[in-house]
């Protein structure tokens, strides 16, 4: 349905997207995941012909973007990043305007409008000025605009950014329902988001695709491991003996913290729990366990590891990880608006 091959996008000397290729089948919900500035938005902008690739080709439903852009744009519904809207229009006027440009007949518009109002839950605000709406409603209006013409493909750039946790859940719900019938492509820098709604995840970093697979496969391939952080009190230890305990066990890291105190990170298949064996082994050796901590490798961790190359990058990812936790502040101010 969507075929992107060898697409490159340069902004001046900066290469934002670097030879990206992927295909999306009809009915898939695909999530682009990556830290800020990874090239997600640029990719989506090229899929909607807002930007033209420096090289490479985009093919949607058998038509080439370079030659049949207008036709392709008829099939696409697009919710850009930050959800720009015409503040001085009413919701109805805005949808009418979009319908006009999309050449929807009055008949189609009049049958689609109630459905879209229902689907996006914008009944109460349909005659209000967009500028007066709360963020949650604005997002729904943006979605309504994107699905008004019953498109084959819906492209959403960071659809839940800036919403409070309740609104995020609502929008995700809408997206999931849309995904039952449509091809949906969305981007996010928040792990839980793509995990919650997407079938397939494309992890992108520095303009390159670094992982592209079904969500479950990604999870089991990369997340099928337990990481055990150990702090040990030991004199002249040889940690490689740990490897005899289990064939899947490997020593991820070892280092001296201070005199006789060692830090060891072990990694093993999460099918078995090796903690008991490991403790016994340590006791046999005559070492002491100062601390032992088990970590599941979640997708979030994988994302972190895959995209972490420099310290600054790690910082950016940290911020995104903690972002949902700072959300309640937003709620406090968001609650005063017309929403809820």
């Amino acid at each position: 349905m969507i075929e992107v091959s060898n697409v490159v996008k340069d902004y001046g000397t900066l290469r934002a997207v670097d030879h990206i290729s992927f295909t999306v089948q009809e009915g898939e919900i695909v999530g682009f995941l990556g830290p800020n500035g990874a090239g997600k938005s640029t990719t989506l902008k090229m899929l909607t012909d807002y930007l033209t690739p420096t090289s490479g080709s985009i093919n949607i439903n058998g038509k080439d973007m370079a030659t049949d852009s207008l036709q392709i744009r008829q099939w696409i519904g697009y919710l850009p990043e930050h959800n720009p809207l015409y503040e001085d229009m009413t919701v109805y006027d805005y949808l009418r305007f979009v319908a006009d440009i999309r050449n929807l007949s009055d008949k189609v518009f009049n049958t689609r409008l109630p459905q879209v109002i229902e689907e996006c839950g914008i009944k109460e605000v349909i005659n209000k000025k967009i500028g007066t709406l709360s963020k949650g409603y604005r997002q729904r209006v943006g979605l309504a605009q994107a699905i008004l013409h019953d498109p084959m493909v819906i492209i959403m750039d960071e659809p839940t950014t800036g919403l409070d946790p309740n609104q995020i859940l609502e929008i995700r719900d809408v997206i999931r329902r849309l995904g039952e019938k449509k091809t949906v492509i969305l981007s996010s820098h928040i792990m839980q988001e793509v995990q919650a709604v997407c079938d397939r995840i494309i992890i992108i970093n520095k303009g390159k695709i670094i992982a592209d697979d079904r969500k479950e496969v990604l999870q089991s391939q990369l997340a099928g491991k337990t990481v055990l952080d150990l702090e040990l009190l030991a004199r002249d230890p040889h940690f490689y003996d740990f490897r005899m305990l289990d064939p899947t066990l490997s020593i991820f890291h070892e280092g001296k913290v201070k005199e006789d105190v060692w830090e060891v990170v072990l990694e093993y298949s999460n099918k078995t729990d090796l903690r008991e064996k490991i403790s016994r082994f340590i006791t046999e050796k005559g070492w002491l366990v100062l601390s032992m901590q088990k970590q599941e490798r979640s997708l979030e961790k994988i994302f972190h590891e895959l995209t972490m190359e420099s310290k600054t990058m790690a910082k950016a990812v940290d911020q995104t990880e903690y972002m949902p936790k700072s959300k309640p502040e937003d709620t406090a101010t968001g609650g005063e608006e017309t929403n809820e």
């Binding site: 930007l51 207008l70 744009r73 720009p84 809207l85 015409y86 050449n103």
Partner: protein
């Protein structure tokens, strides 16, 4: 065509709901009304020439003001991304916006007909031909200014900057006739041909020359094309 109409409708609507439009319009009518009435009875001649020759000066401020937001504001708020990814060509967006500004100018000019009525009531020997062509000339001048205004608006995301760009451009084509003396012969002729006033004054005298029409037409096309290219340039930079 339908697409252009949708854009046109949207732009006219936003003119209608914006208080700024009315403020600018009222100021414009106050100035023209004052200017017309303070001179017409003094001169004692049933003609609109003095008003007609002042209008292009007023338009220097008026038209960049009504066009400055057309594309700049969309760039600023990001709605340009919605608009340009809808199935509509960039040239249609530009054309729709240009026509909206032109229609607003047409309506504005329609208000000055009140002065014409004054003349018809009180004057004799009215040269209807020159007044008719004067209006046509004013429309062509406005259309050219509008095209430049839309072009200026497409160059920047800040409305004020867009206003200044458009103003400088229209001012250049307006003032160039006045400073012709500093240029040597052939160059002066060339710059004279570029000037709005040179072509407008022909029409105002009731002299219809296709060269003048071609001048205004090509200026309009040039700047609308420029605006389209500027809008499309986002794709490649």
């Amino acid at each position: 065509m339908n697409n252009i109409k949708s854009i046109l409708k949207k732009e006219l609507n936003s003119y209608l709901v914006s208080p700024a439009t009315y403020i600018v319009l009222v100021i414009f009518l106050l100035i023209t009304g004052w200017y017309f009435n303070s001179t017409v009875f003094v001169i004692g001649q049933a003609e609109m020439r003095s008003l007609f020759s002042t209008l292009p000066i007023l338009f220097l401020f008026f038209i960049p003001a009504i066009t400055m937001g057309m594309i700049a504001k969309e760039k600023n708020t990001g709605t340009i991304e919605i608009l340009t990814t809808l199935p509509i060509q960039d040239s249609q967006i530009v054309l729709g916006k240009f026509l909206a500004a032109l229609i607003l100018m047409g309506v504005t000019l329609l208000f000055t007909v009140i002065h014409l009525i004054t003349i018809v009531r009180f004057g004799e020997n009215i040269d209807y031909g020159s007044i008719f062509w004067g209006y046509i000339g004013l429309l062509l001048v406005s259309a050219t200014y509008c095209a430049i205004g839309v072009f200026g608006s497409s160059l920047h995301s800040n409305q004020i900057v867009a206003f200044i760009i458009s103003f400088v451009l229209v001012f250049f084509f307006f003032i160039i006739e006045v400073i012709l003396v500093i240029f040597p012969g052939p160059l002066a002729e060339f710059f004279q041909y570029l000037s709005f006033n040179y072509h407008f004054s022909n029409l105002q005298r009731g002299v219809v020359d296709t060269r003048d029409i071609i001048y205004f037409g090509s200026m309009i096309i040039l700047f609308l094309k420029g605006a389209t290219i500027s809008l499309e340039s986002r794709k490649w930079n």
